[in-house]
Symmetry: C2
Subunit: 145 residues, 2 copies
Amino acid sequence: MTAAPRSRDRRRRDTEHRLTHDIDTWVASASADGAPYLVPLSFDWDGESLLMATPTDSPTGRNLAATRTVRLGLGHTRDVSMIEGEVEVLGIDALPAAAGDRFAARTGFVPQALNFVRAGETPLRRPPRTAGSASPRAASRPGAR
Amino acid sequence: MTAAPRSRDRRRRDTEHRLTHDIDTWVASASADGAPYLVPLSFDWDGESLLMATPTDSPTGRNLAATRTVRLGLGHTRDVSMIEGEVEVLGIDALPAAAGDRFAARTGFVPQALNFVRAGETPLRRPPRTAGSASPRAASRPGAR
């Protein structure tokens, strides 16, 4: 990777493009006592939050309900947008029908007996404020990850 | 995704191919109190474990040193091999020179002042024994994630 780091505005535009057009995201969660979990999930984006569906009793479902914290990776390892989010758990009965229809249209499946989780962007601890980006070799910069 | 699930043998072969040929993996870790972290890192594979490099004071470095547990995602969201691993932290001085050279040749960068972490495969809680696979829509199968 010899390309110069993207500007903050460019990173935000790239992230918004992925939120609008991508279908899958990597979902990292953790149990309350520090066991990491990782899985790809499909999502919908309503302009403010990502909507995902996962069984209540899956590792991801249990972790997100317990910690209400998620870290998402959009894109591929060399073109990444990372998002830290706070999680709201929605029972399937609490999901507005229009949001469910929109989710089904985007992801191509109609989840049944699943809980939905809504992950809103929260400020990252370092700039850029609401979305960062990383590439694997950035690991050579101490502190980068 | 209408393709049938891959057989266990096929999943293992796919995973071994990725371990041998891929350069980057998604690395999910967690703090001891349950804050998830996710980042892509380059790796080398010696046939038994993945070698990665990350700064000691990065979130990933701190998490792996504290919990010694990692979950890795190889491939893309629709063609995934997941690996749960136990982590060994190696100071850069503890890394055999040949392993460091091999890492640099594969990943294209020579880490300096980084710690290495070695993640060995451990049995998953469910079969397949040492590597699983998942696709986003598998979320519609309760318990799958």
